[in-house]
């Protein structure tokens, strides 16, 4: 049966096509697809060597699980050498993230989690030289992921001055803030000597490539964020030439295969300048790829639904997302 993603809006299927199809019934295909996606993440986030060293066997019983574990371990290993935050901040971030992930799972909103910070461990504050400091950036201004969010505002008084909700776009980790897309994803800095909340962040983002986690996520939320991102980035991309092999100029920024590419130069010093601020090229590629992966796996999961465990089928049948329910019902009818 043909799976149709158009219920999530235009350009979703085209975006999913950027990362190609994957037949979840074929361990060989799953291995190749997931490996490629981890390699892409590793290239942008700087753990290519660690991932190559950790690569599991193609004969792994569950290629998806094996590659996910290898990718996370590789990322964790690469962070041993990065700049360290204070222990207090990192520990607070870890505790907060765990709580936010639990909340997000419950709501089916893992991609973007928005909570009242005063309900979180330590009120999402940490202590630094006797002062209470916010553990995360208060990201509620209009940005590339949306127009900003009002609620839930803090109901209690915040010891560190939270006056806005805490909003994290964990699906785009490490570029978790809509209005602050630095060249280095802000989540990359969530590391101290003994705590690595950054690893939890990437684990969550990568988990959206797993069929069950993917189905638990309300795709309508992801689609809405994607359409906003797409609307604000397409005019910027339209100004760029399309890469043509043999005709490219050194150092120039191109569009290639839907992503940004610098010929004979560093992508990491290139950026798009738009009304919503500067958008670093690696951030654009990584974020677009996260959207593409999400919808590619959603499509692949629906295509393979009848061969997946009953618990996974049940997730689709009972989802609050009408689009997903309808597709799952039609698949079941088609047998």
């Amino acid at each position: 049966m043909n799976v149709d993603l158009s219920c999530y809006g235009g350009r979703i299927a085209d975006t999913a096509d950027l990362v190609g199809d994957c037949d979840l019934r074929s361990p060989t295909e799953v291995y190749a697809w997931v490996r490629l996606e981890w390699e892409a993440m590793a290239a942008v986030l700087g753990f290519t060597q660690q991932f190559a060293a950790n690569l599991p066997s193609r004969a792994a019983i569950s290629p998806m699980a094996a590659l996910q574990a290898a990718g996370i371990a590789a990322y964790a290993a690469s962070l041993r050498h990065t700049a360290k935050q204070s222990e207090n901040q990192a520990r607070t971030q870890s505790a907060v993230l765990q709580q936010m992930v639990a909340t997000g799972r419950e709501r089916g909103e893992l991609w973007r989690v928005s909570v009242d910070p005063t309900t979180l461990p330590t009120g999402a504050c940490y202590e630094d030289q006797g002062q209470a400091i916010r553990a995360f950036y208060p990201d509620t201004a209009p940005g590339y992921f949306g127009e900003g969010w009002d609620g839930p505002r803090p109901r209690a008084e915040s010891a560190c001055g939270w006056q806005t909700p805490l909003v994290l776009h964990l699906g785009a980790f490490p570029w978790v803030y809509s209005s602050r897309l630095d060249a280095t994803g802000p989540g990359m800095r969530w590391v101290s000597a003994s705590a690595q909340p950054a690893v939890l962040g990437l684990q969550l983002a990568a988990s959206l490539m797993e069929p069950a986690t993917n189905l638990r996520q309300d795709a309508r939320q992801v689609a809405a964020i994607f359409h906003h991102f797409d609307t604000h980035t397409q005019p910027l991309l339209a100004r760029l030439p399309v890469f043509q092999s043999g005709r490219a100029e050194a150092g120039r920024l191109y569009r290639r295969g839907g992503f940004l590419y610098v010929h004979q130069g560093s992508l990491h010093v290139a950026a798009l300048d738009g009304p919503r601020g500067q958008l670093p090229a690696p951030a654009y590629n990584h974020i677009l790829r996260r959207f593409a992966c999400f919808f590619a796996i959603r499509r692949a999961t629906l295509r393979a639904l009848s061969s997946l465990p009953a618990s996974v089928q049940e997730l689709a049948m009972t989802s609050t997302d009408p689009c997903l329910r309808e597709q799952a019902t039609a698949i079941r009818r088609a047998g």
Binding site: H81, R247, A250, G251, Q264, S266, H268, A271, D273
Partner: protein
């Protein structure tokens, strides 16, 4: 030929501002886009240097690309480490990374000489060409090199860059027939920089890592100019750059003094860094 005469002036500070956006990349390309094609690549539809090997990746190097690389862009680290491995100067990769920060802010097409306020750089390349052309092999694009100024990842002054390797291999130096725009090719620029570092280490008294940058700015700082205000200023800027980039000079990845005694020679370094794409 005196190495000092040939190399003096290579790598003067570029004054590139800020990390690049798309617009900056374009502005850096503006003058380079007009350059002639490489010898051996006369197809009018082919951009200069389009047949170069792509930037190296993690698979092309043996060393570690995570430890003590600070904020050096991930996608340039393999090139910098390849320079270290090709030149067999242990610890040089991170030092090249700090130098590139100062010289180009990691924009491979950084160019000084194409703007109205960059007369100094054009004067520098004119002087370099005029004063040295009679004692060096001819440059096929000598006049263009003289007018070019400096550029590329490591801020090379065009005539000196194109004469890279002449003291070692004479008329067989690999860039003699290339246009100056080839300095925008990071592999070619890295070849020039590797040779230059080796020459500084081999021919001058280099007391510490910061002395390399002093010699990079002007080799006379390592002889008659040692201890001068300019020498001190270059060293201070380098130390500030080290901090800005986030490199730990005391880390085990960088020896206290770099050593070029295992230098394999210009042809070997050229083959490893540039390959066959050029001549």
């Amino acid at each position: 030929m005196s190495s000092r005469n040939t190399w003096i002036g290579l790598g003067t500070a570029l004054g590139v501002t800020g990390l690049a956006g798309g617009a900056l990349l374009y502005s850096r390309r503006a003058s380079a886009a007009q350059g002639p094609v490489l010898s051996g690549a006369p197809d009018p539809g082919t951009a200069p240097g389009s047949d170069f090997l792509p930037l190296p990746t993690a698979a092309d190097v043996k060393g570690d690309l995570s430890r003590n690389w600070g904020e050096i862009p991930f996608d340039l680290r393999a090139l910098l480490l390849l320079m270290e491995e090709a030149s067999q100067i242990p610890g040089s990769g991170r030092v090249f990374g700090v130098i590139a920060y100062r010289e180009s802010r990691y924009v491979t097409t950084a160019h000084n000489g194409n703007a109205a306020n960059e007369e100094d750089e054009r004067d520098g390349s004119r002087r370099a060409y005029k004063n040295n052309k009679d004692r060096n092999p001819a440059l096929r694009f000598g006049d263009q090199a003289a007018e070019f100024g400096s550029g590329g990842l490591f801020g090379a002054l065009a005539p000196y860059f194109l004469w890279t390797g002449v003291p070692e291999v004479g008329a067989k130096a690999p860039l003699l027939n290339a246009p100056p725009e080839i300095v925008f090719q990071p592999r070619a620029a890295s070849f020039g920089a590797a040779v230059y570092m080796q020459r500084i280490l081999k021919h001058y008294r280099v007391d510490d890592i910061a002395d390399i940058k002093a010699g990079w700015a002007n080799p006379s700082f390592l002889t008659t100019g040692r201890g001068s205000e300019s020498y001190k200023n270059v060293r201070s800027r380098f130390i500030a750059d080290v901090e800005a980039v986030g490199i730990d000079l005391n880390d085990a990845t960088i020896p206290a003094k770099l050593n070029a005694s295992a230098w394999p020679g210009v042809p070997a370094v050229f083959a490893r860094l540039v390959g066959k794409g050029l001549v």
